[in-house]
């Protein structure tokens, strides 16, 4: 059994045996500019337990890390918290190799496994609040439906006060460091916010419910070990505080301008709008879609108070790149936003109406008259754009005062 890769002990009896994906840059459309990790954990209890597995191409790395601690065939239990293939892709092969006594998943997880692998791995279904004894230690499961898949569960190792939280509290960051206290806080905050915005945001009401439930249980955490990124060891409640904040989706003093451009008319208009916002003391983030990945747009939408969208009219419609980003943004269900629309056209001006309709679907409160300009904006047109910025800024500030 190869042992070129080594396990890293995270606390007494518990090892990180995951894989580091240094080169990952695109996670189904989410730009992972810092790579990622697929975390798996080995609990050296009487019943040797493997918590989650890794993406299929990284099976060798995980097995090697396990073998640096124990012969993998000695694993008694495998727990699958989440069936998404970055955590289960290697599961069928690992089960074949290890032949565990039991494989645990939620009831929905057992169904999802069949739908992924088209064979019966014979998982044992666990319910919310159910304990399993690992001999001298105890693991309790908690249901986390739709955080972020229907079958998602987490588990808590009582004796070591470790929460294995699957994708919740995770972030995409490839690093040699395994712990939060070994990494700069600004990078952790940014990547955790990006992860929340792109993966968790639509389920914010469920995050609030979960956090309330956890507080009610009065459970103490020495560590929170998610399936991506570092383990939260020093003050593990830091990430819980961030989740509290993000789940509230309270408006902030920032406006995000999202647009694309054909002949730089929308670019000029966006710059004028940003100037108007700044004049009223609202921070503007100008995102031209041609140079901004949709997942970066999502990150900016998490902590803002206004969204202003712009598009040229092309063949009686909005620009396809704008439709792409807005379709994605709508699905993420950002809330409590005010907004406005700007557009350009040559001979017919449909984009403006399409954009207004999208904002309405997104439940954004439209607070300024739309600006729709033929061909190229002159000074008067740019002045209208500045006024749009001023108008959105004033509405946002009023809203922030009321809150």
């Amino acid at each position: 059994m190869p042992t070129a890769f080594k396990a890293i002990q995270i606390c007494e009896d518990v090892y990180w045996v995951g894989a580091i994906d240094w080169t990952l840059r695109d996670f189904h459309g989410y730009s992972t500019s810092r790579g990622s990790t697929y975390n798996a954990f080995l609990i050296m209890a009487d019943k040797v337990t493997l918590i989650d597995t890794v993406k299929a191409p990284f099976k060798h790395e995980m097995m090697s890390r396990i073998a640096s601690v124990i012969d993998p065939s000695k694993i008694d239990y495998i727990v699958s918290h989440h069936t998404e293939m970055d955590h289960s892709g290697s599961l069928p092969e690992v089960v074949d190799e290890v032949k565990p006594e039991k494989l645990f998943a939620s009831r929905a997880g057992a169904v999802a496994m069949k739908q992924h692998f088209h064979r019966d791995l014979e998982p044992v279904a666990v319910a919310d609040g159910e304990d399993i004894a690992l001999g001298q230690m105890k693991l309790t499961f908690f249901d986390t439906k739709m955080l972020h898949w229907p079958e998602s569960i987490v588990s808590y190792l009582h004796e070591r006060k470790v929460l294995f939280s699957q994708d919740i509290f995770g972030l995409h960051l490839a690093s040699s460091e395994r712990f939060d206290d070994e990494l700069p806080e600004d990078i952790l905050y940014f990547e955790a916010a990006k992860y929340y915005a792109n993966i968790v945001m639509p389920y914010s009401p469920l995050v609030k419910k979960l956090l309330k439930k956890v507080e009610g249980l009065g459970v103490e955490f020495d560590m929170i070990a998610p399936d991506h990124g570092p383990i939260w060891r020093t003050n593990p409640t830091r990430i819980i505080k961030w989740y509290h904040k993000w789940a509230e989706m309270k408006p902030e003093n920032k406006a995000v301008i999202i647009y694309d451009t054909m002949w730089k008319s929308c670019r000029k208009m966006a710059a004028s709008i940003a100037d108007g916002l700044a004049q009223e003391g609202v921070s503007a983030k100008v995102l031209e879609i041609g140079s901004t990945n949709r997942s970066e747009v999502a990150t900016e939408l998490l902590e803002c108070g206004a969204i202003i969208v712009g598009s040229p009219t092309i063949n009686n419609n909005i620009f396809p790149s704008v439709a792409d980003v807005l379709t994605y943004a709508k699905g993420l269900k950002p809330r409590n936003l005010v907004g406005a629309v700007f557009a350009t056209y040559g001979w017919s001006g449909e984009a403006v109406n399409h954009l207004e309709a999208v904002l309405e679907e997104m439940k954004v409160e439209k607070v300024a008259e739309s600006v729709n300009i033929q061909y190229v904006p002159d000074d008067a047109a740019l002045e209208k754009c500045r006024e749009l910025g001023l108008c959105v800024a004033r509405s946002l500030k009023e809203k922030l005062q009321v809150e």
Partner: protein
């Protein structure tokens, strides 16, 4: 009888099918679901549903 959709996860409650896994007989209208019934997919309450 009207179908209702979960605002959060998109699950559709179809009264013709009911929710037999959770003891709701086929033919039960959304209005007749017990107050403590929750979305079988994501667990939110009836108040998070809107007519489909």
């Amino acid at each position: 009888m009207k179908k209702y959709i979960c605002n959060l996860c998109g699950y559709v409650y179809d009264p013709e099918e009911g929710d037999p896994d959770n003891g709701i007989e086929p033919g039960t209208s959304f209005e007749d679901l017990p107050d403590d019934w929750v979305c079988p997919l994501c667990g939110v309450g009836k108040e998070e549903f809107t007519p489909a």
